[in-house]
């Protein structure tokens, strides 16, 4: 009761100030969005997608940012593609393919009659053109090297040659087998662009993208909206179902939800777990879950005191209450992480038991390690919301509170995102929060990328180095038989668990919210998907 009248008082106060302001907006009382569209009789065919950040580029090969791929997935297509909601491999622009016995030659048979948005033909020459463009690039232009071991003249480059056998057949010759080769090809950055458009626009291709996808690029108002329209000549009959897609930037999660409630947007990503109930209680809205393929973790830099001591690292594992964190900041919608990769990925070792939440045990280990009186550290928390950790600063506060109970005084620090990664890569953090969303659903993309000694200086931020682990991971890279690979990865996870360079925290389920009439929206675990099949009921 009290609360209500207080609310009304505040509203009244604000309303007075509003009235004083002449409330010029009133003249157009329509406040249209809410009832427009569905009532007008004609079927809604424009989808407005609200998201937290703008794209940096619309040429997918030039970026690693997820926000960019959300748009480019609709404009470009890859040779092979992932399943609707998993990372199995399906035909894409290539209808079928053969792999040679030794795993070194891949022959792709391309789909015929596909045209780029500018009217030029998609064919083998276009594929070769794209790969030549990427392979001859450099680090500043394209982050291509991260998946294929370098550029054309680099020692480690996996691909030795890409050639057009005939108009619709392309052959890739590899220097050595690469187990996740097809999975790599399906990644968003490797969407095939129109060679004519690349040549026409040069550097401006990044804001004038031309591909073969279900939607064509129309307009980009920076930091505001990107508009795409239906590709009427799309090779899949009857698709896409929408006429227009508009990606709109609304940085604050709550503001985005308000916009959804107001009908200003139709779907949004980055829904706060804590807002899920609000959405469920609204009969105009629905919650859509994105399948999880990520891990959020607390890293400990193993080259810095006191985390050079395995016992201390294990103690940290005992000291953090994952369940409480998940209940409070993931709305219960996340799985406590045991291993550095999510259970949905092949090769996951479910025999491993997690360190339980046990403060006594943690204190014991600290005593054994000679830190009976505890110590002081900096705990670095990410400055931005990531799918695996939407509220890093807050989780950090909970961890700070937990650690204080075993005598560890943690000071929460943060710095802007690029610097954060830079410092982490240089091993300047004591303890830090980070995470990873899988690129292609392969265990290599988690274990080797994040914890092998080769990755120190890039993504192995905890500077963890174990030679036995290294040998296993390298063997698994070139091993093409999946069962054998799985065994190797299971062994690898055991070693990592014992050495405890991380406290694996969660595998989160990122949430989207949409208006009830949005149908067939299938979020992909990699974080970006085309809206080809989406329609309004």
């Amino acid at each position: 009761m009290k609360k209500k009248s207080f609310k009304m008082l505040l509203i009244a106060l604000l309303a007075i100030s509003m009235f004083l302001a002449g409330c010029s907006g009133k003249s157009s009382e329509t406040s249209g969005e809410k009832d427009s569209g569905s009532d007008s009789g004609s079927k809604k065919d424009t989808l407005v997608y609200g998201r937290g950040g703008d794209s940096t580029s619309l040429d997918p090969i030039t970026t690693t940012e997820g926000e960019a791929f959300k748009v480019t997935e609709n404009i470009f297509e890859t040779l092979v593609s992932y399943g609707d909601q998993d990372t199995t491999i399906h035909p894409g622009l290539a209808e079928k393919w053969d792999v040679s016995e030794d795993g070194l030659t891949y022959t792709f048979h391309l789909r015929q009659g596909v045209k780029f948005h500018d009217g030029t033909d998609f064919n083998a020459a276009a594929v070769v053109f794209n790969f030549e463009r990427w392979m001859n690039g450099d680090e500043e232009k394209f982050p291509y090297y991260t998946m294929f071991g370098g550029y054309k003249n680099d020692e480690g480059h996996v691909i030795s040659e890409v050639k057009a056998v005939d108009e619709y057949t392309v052959q890739f010759v590899l220097k050595r087998p690469q187990a996740p080769f097809l999975k790599n090809l399906a990644m968003s950055p490797f969407g095939i662009a129109s060679p004519a458009a690349v040549e026409k626009y040069g550097d401006d291709f990044r804001s004038n993208p031309v591909g073969t996808g279900p939607f064509k690029f129309v307009e980009w108002k920076q930091n505001d909206t990107i508009t795409l329209e239906k590709n009427a000549d799309y090779w899949q009959e009857g698709l896409p179902k929408l006429n227009k897609v508009i990606f709109r930037v609304i940085p604050e999660n709550t503001a985005r939800l308000n916009a959804l409630v107001n009908g200003e947007i139709d779907i949004m990503d980055g829904l706060n777990n804590s807002d899920e109930d609000t959405v469920l209680a609204n009969d105009q809205l629905q919650v859509i879950e994105r399948p999880s393929m990520n891990v959020g973790y607390i890293g400990m830099t193993t080259t810095r005191k006191p985390f050079d001591n395995k016992l201390v690292r294990q103690a940290m594992n005992y000291a953090i209450d994952k369940k409480a964190i998940i209940d409070a900041f993931y709305g219960g919608k996340a799985e406590p992480a045991v291993n550095p990769m999510p259970p949905s990925i092949e090769g996951y070792n479910d025999a491993i038991k997690d360190y339980p939440y046990d403060l006594e045990k943690a204190k014991e280990l600290l005593k054994e390690a000679g830190y009976e009186k505890g110590f002081e550290i900096d705990l670095w928390a990410m400055p931005v919301a990531r799918p695996y950790m939407p509220e890093a600063q807050k989780v950090a506060e909970v961890i700070q509170d937990s650690l204080s109970k075993i005598g560890v005084k943690a000071k929460i620090q943060s710095v802007e995102w690029a610097t954060y990664l830079d410092k982490a890569a240089k091993g300047e953090f004591d303890m830090f929060m980070l995470g990873w969303t899988g690129d292609n659903g392969d265990p290599d993309n988690f274990l080797y990328t994040l914890l092998d000694k080769d990755s120190i200086g890039s993504n192995n931020y905890s500077y963890y180095s174990n030679d036995e682990l290294h040998d296993i991971l390298i063997e698994a890279q070139t091993e093409t038989e999946q069962a054998k690979r799985n065994e190797l990865y299971k062994k690898a996870q055991e070693i990592i668990k014992e050495d405890a360079p991380w406290v694996p925290l969660v595998h989160s389920t990122p949430l989207l919210a949409a208006s009830k009439d949005v149908a067939n929206y299938l979020p992909h675990p990699t974080g970006s998907e085309a809206v080809t099949n989406v329609e309004f009921k």
Binding site: K2, T254, N258, S274, T278, Q393, S414, V415
Partner: protein
């Protein structure tokens, strides 16, 4: 920038008298008569008291998390409700007074000290020294203050202390200019000329004659500047560039809670009201002081 021609009666008044007891009592009397100013003083005193006795007054610890009692609406148990960690907002708002007053006071103290020094140097020595210092002030004032503060924090790294430094830095030119113009006008007065003529040392002239003359406008300006500094500190906290967790800084509290505008709006009401009231207090007090100490500045 525009200086109106001075009142000739004032020119002959020896400055030392201004410092003796009775004018201050006069000032207090007229301040007391000014109801608005008194209200401001009361508000400020209340917040200072809250800050001082926070540990006694606060029913809960400002940092104790009770994750099972998150985002509870205001009730008898938690007067202002709880935040997303289940912390008592009432206690946090009270402790927050310490932080905001501390930042407001010390950042302004910093700008006053540095600004006064630079202003005196510029005004007294004139010529290229003045030119140089004044240009620096011009350049600093050419940037919107919050922007400059953000830049300073971006360099030093986000923390409460650095926010304080940033706010102090951006306010320096305001005091510098004020003192400089005061010095310039006092310098021309006969008794200073006389003092110089009889060979009094620069430092002595500055300390005994020029500084006392600049005190009242500086006090007025400083009181108003505390108000601005509190808002700026809150703004930096809101942008994540000020106080860090679990410090109960009001702007930081707003920023932490802005995601709960729909579910738990009370997490946003109270810190905001606290900022507004404190700032209002200092503004009222500053206005009152201006009427009393520096009637010329009255608008």
């Amino acid at each position: 920038m525009a200086e109106l021609v001075k009142n000739p009666a004032e020119m002959t008044a020896p400055p030392l008298d201004e410092n003796s007891v009775s004018p201050w009592r006069e000032a207090w009397k007229s301040f007391y008569k000014n109801r608005m100013a008194l209200a401001g003083l009361v508000i400020v005193v209340i917040f200072i008291l809250l800050a001082l006795i926070a540990p006694v007054l606060a029913p809960y610890s400002f940092k104790e998390q009770v994750l099972t009692e998150r985002m509870q609406a205001p009730s008898g148990k938690h007067w202002f409700g709880t935040d997303d960690f289940g912390r008592d907002i009432f206690s946090r708002v009270i402790y927050g007074a310490r932080i905001s007053l501390w930042v407001g006071f010390f950042s302004v103290l910093g700008s006053v000290i540095v600004g006064t020094m630079l202003g005196i140097i510029a005004g007294y020595y004139g010529r290229w020294v003045d030119g140089f210092i004044s240009r620096i002030f011009d350049i600093m004032l050419a940037f919107p203050s919050i922007l400059l503060a953000i830049a300073v924090v971006a360099i030093l790294g986000p923390s409460l202390r650095n926010a304080l430094i940033a706010i102090a830095v951006v306010n320096i030119p305001n005091f510098g200019r004020l003192v400089r113009s005061k010095v310039l006008s006092v310098k021309q007065e006969e008794y200073i000329m006389a003092a110089r003529a009889i060979g009094m040392k620069d430092s002595r002239i500055l300390l005994r004659h020029i500084l006392p003359n600049s005190i009242s406008p500086v006090i007025v300006q400083a009181t108003l500047a505390i108000a601005t500094a509190i808002i700026e500190a809150a703004a930096l906290g809101f942008l994540g560039m000020g106080a860090q967790a679990p410090t109960p800084e009001w702007g930081k509290m707003l920023s932490d809670s802005k995601n709960y505008l729909v579910q738990a709006p009370w997490t946003l009401f109270f810190p905001g009201i606290a900022i507004m009231l404190t700032v209002l207090g200092f503004n009222l007090m500053g206005d009152g002081l201006r009427d009393v100490l520096d009637p010329k500045m009255k608008q």
